[in-house]
C-alpha cells in the first residue's frame, strides 16, 4: 500500500523528522483559511496522487501570492493529471497539499528499500537530491552510496560511516552526525511500519545546516497491514471492481482486453493471461481465486467478471489442487444459474476431483464449451 505524500509527512513529523508546515485541501473553499495559517507567500501546491513524475507533469506549483495560489488550486483540483506513470487517462487530483516554501542551499536523496535477493534492507544516499535515484546511479554512480544492514546486527555506527564516507562529494563532516541520526530514524520507521520503501527526495539542507524533508514517499507491505490498523484503507483512484474483489479476498486486477478470466493460483493466472495474448486476444482482467478458494469465493469471482461490460468471452482455467474441481463447479453453477449468459464461456478443468466437477457442470444446463487441455482451450478462445 502506498501512502500519500501528506500521510507520510504526518507520520514523519510524529517520528521526529522535520517536514515543511502544510495543510491538505479538498475544496478551494478551504484555501483562504489554510493560507492564513501558514507562513508565506510563497506557498507550494502539491497534487496528492499515487504516481511519480508529478513535478514534470505540472502537479507541483509555487504560488508567489494569494491570487496565484487561488489560480493554481483552481487549475489542479478535480482535474486529471497525466504523468509518465499514469497512462494516458491520468488520475483525478482529489487532494492538494499546501505548504510553506522552504529556502535551502542543497538537496540530498535518502532512501531505504528491501533488497530481495540479499534479503536485506538497502540504505541509499545520494548527494544529487531531487533526481530519480536510478538516473543518478546511471549517470553519476559516485554520487550514490548504498549499504545493506543485517537486521540482526542492527544499524551499528560503522554502517553510518560506510554510507557517509562512501559518497562523492562527501558531505561536510559537520553534517555526518545529523545525517546519521536521520538514517537511524528512517531505519526505525522502515521496521516500525513494515515498509517496503521509505524515501526522502529531496531532503533540503538549510542555511543553518538543518534538514527538511521536502518530499516523502512510503510503501507499506500489504501482508503486514493486519498489524497496522493506523493505516486506513485507501480507495482513492481504485477501480470499483478491484475494490469489490479485494473485500472478498480475491486478487483481481483490471486489464484492457475483453476476455474475462478466472484462474486459481497467481502463477497460473499470469500464464493464462499470457496465453490469451498469444491467441491474439486480450484479457479483461487478472483474477486469482486462490489456491484454496471456497464455493462462495468462486461465486463472487464470477459475479465480478459478469459485472464488467467489456467482457466478450469468459475463460475459466482451474487446476484443482487444494481447490477441488467439484467445489469450483458448484460455485460456478450457483453464480450463473438464472443468468442468461450472453457471451461464450470456455471451461478447462483439471486436477483433484475433476470427474465430479465435470459431471456437475454437465448436469447444470449451463452453456459453455469444455476444453480437455490448454491447447484446446486456446483454440476455443481464438474462436
Amino acid at each position: 500500500m502506498k501512502l500519500h505524500e501528506f500521510e507520510t509527512k504526518e507520520l514523519f513529523k510524529r517520528e521526529g523528522i522535520t517536514v515543511p508546515e502544510g495543510k491538505v485541501l479538498e475544496s478551494i473553499d478551504q484555501l483562504d483559511r489554510i493560507l492564513n495559517s501558514l507562513k508565506g507567500p510563497p506557498w507550494v501546491l502539491k497534487a496528492q496522487v499515487h504516481a511519480g513524475g508529478r513535478g514534470k507533469a505540472g502537479g507541483i506549483r509555487v504560488a508567489k501570492d494569494r491570487e496565484d495560489a487561488f489560480k493554481g488550486v483552481a487549475e489542479l483540483l478535480e482535474k486529471r493529471l497525466v504523468t509518465a506513470q499514469t497512462g494516458k487517462d491520468g488520475v483525478v487530483i482529489k487532494k492538494l497539499l499546501i505548504e510553506e516554501f522552504t529556502p535551502h542551499m542543497g538537496e540530498y536523496y535518502l532512501g531505504i528499500t528491501l533488497d530481495r535477493s540479499k534479503a536485506l534492507p538497502a540504505l541509499i544516499l545520494s548527494t544529487r537530491g531531487g533526481m530519480e535515484i536510478e538516473e543518478v546511479a546511471k549517470e553519476d554512480p559516485r554520487a550514490v552510496s548504498k549499504i545493506w544492514v543485517n537486521p540482526l546486527w542492527g544499524f551499528s555506527p560503522y554502517k553510518a560511516r560506510e554510507i557517509l564516507f562512501g559518497v562523492d562529494p562527501m558531505p561536510d563532516l559537520e553534517l555526518h552526525p545529523p545525517l546519521e541520526g536521520l538514517f537511524r530514524k528512517l531505519y526505525e520507521v522502515f521496521w516500525k511500519y513494515d515498509c517496503s520503501l521509505v524515501e526522502i527526495n529531496p531532503l533540503a539542507i538549510l542555511e543553518d545546516k538543518k534538514f527538511v524533508a521536502l518530499d516523502a514517499k512510503m510503501s507499506i507491505d500489504d501482508n503486514a497491514l493486519f498489524r497496522h490498523k493506523e493505516f486506513g484503507e485507501d480507495h482513492e483512484g481504485k477501480d470499483p471492481l478491484e475494490l469489490e474483489a479485494q473485500s472478498h479476498g480475491l486478487s483481481y486486477i483490471r486489464m484492457n482486453g475483453d476476455v474475462g478470466v478466472m484462474v486459481n493460483g497467481a502463477g497460473l493466472a499470469m500464464a493464462t493471461m499470457d496465453i490469451i495474448k498469444l491467441a491474439g486476444r486480450e484479457p479483461a482482467n487478472f483474477l486469482d481465486v486462490g489456491g484454496g478458494a471456497s464455493q462462495e469465493m468462486v461465486r463472487k469471482g464470477f459475479e465480478i467478471i459478469l459485472k464488467d461490460p467489456r467482457v466478450r468471452t469468459i475463460f475459466v482455467n482451474i487446476f484443482g489442487g487444494i481447490l477441488r474441481c467439484d467445489v469450483l463447479a458448484r460455485g460456478m453453477v450457483e453464480a450463473l444459474s438464472g443468468i442468461d449468459l450472453k457471451v461464450p464461456m470456455v471451461v478447462r478443468l483439471e486436477g483433484t476431483n475433476v470427474e465430479t466437477g465435470r459431471e456437475i457442470l454437465k448436469n447444470s444446463g449451463l452453456k459453455f464449451s469444455v476444453a480437455q487441455d490448454l491447447k484446446e482451450a486456446i483454440g476455443l478462445i481464438r474462436g
Binding site: 528491501l114 530481495r116 535477493s117 534479503a119 537486521p151 490469451i276 495474448k277 486469482d288 487446476f319 489442487g321
Partner: protein, 298 residues
Amino acid sequence: MSILVDQNSKICIQGITGKEGSFHTEQMLLYGSRVVCGVTPKKGGSFFKEVPVFNTVKEAKRETDCDVSCIFVPAPFAPDAILEASDAGIRVVVCITEGIPVLDMVKVANAIRGNGTVLIGPNCPGIISPGKTKVGIMPGHIHRKGKVGVISRSGTLTYEVVYQLTQAGYGQSTCIGIGGDPVIGTDFVFHLKEFERDPQTQAVVLIGEIGGSMEEEAAHYVIQNRYPKPVFAFIAGLTAPPDKRMGHAGAIISGGKGGAQEKIQALEEAGITVIRDLSTLGETIRFRLNSQGISPDL
C-alpha cells in the same frame, strides 16, 4: 535418488491439528509420506490419526528424530514456527503459509543462515519426490516418478507443468515450489546445484515469473558453470502491467525491473530453452529430450 526429501524423510507437521494442517497431513499419509509427528502447543500427548502430537518441535525431534518439517501455521505465528524448527535442528523446513509480512521473513532468513537449515517457502506448495514422499499440498496423483527436476515460484502453474510432463511421458525426480513471496528460503540456483549432483535427475524445468532477479541469477549460474543437464524454463507474466501485485507478493514489476522479457532474454542467452506457449510445454520438452537421447520414463 531425488533431492531434499525421499522415502526415508521423517516428517513433522507444525500446526497438525489446524484445518489445513490436518487435511494435508491425511493427504500426505495417503500418499505414503512418513509423517512421524506433529506439533501443536497445548495438545502435546494427544494423537492425530496415530501420529503423536507434541508441544514443541524440540520435544518432537528428541522423541521421533524427525528431519523435515512442514508448517501450516497462520501468518502471524509462522516466523516463530520457522525459527523453532531451525533451532531444533530440522534439516528441511517447508513453510506453506501465505501472507507472512516480508520484513518478518527478512529477520528469519538472516537468523537461520548458517544454521544448517534449508527453508522452502513461505507461500509455497512444498516438495514432492514422486513415488517416495510428498511434503506439501500438491495433488499427488498428477506426479510420476522420473528424471525431470522441477523448480517453481508458483503453485497451480507447477501442477499444470507437471501434468503436461507426465502426459508427455516424463516423470519427475523432485518438484520444489520455492514460494511466491519476495523473500524466500532458497532460489533457483540452490536447487540447480542440488539437481546437478542428483543422478536420477537428467533435466531441469524452471518455472519463473515476474519480479525479482532469481531467473537472471539462474541464467548466470548455468552459463558460468556450463550446467551439464538440459534446462527448460517458463516465465509467467509477459502481459503483466508494472507496479501491480499479480497475486503473489513477489510477482511485481517495480522501478522497471523484474519484467518477463528481460528474464526470458537472460535465460535464452544462457542456452536455456524458454517455452513461451504454456500449452505446448509438455510436447516441446518431450521433443527436445528425445532428440538428446533422454527417453521418457516408462
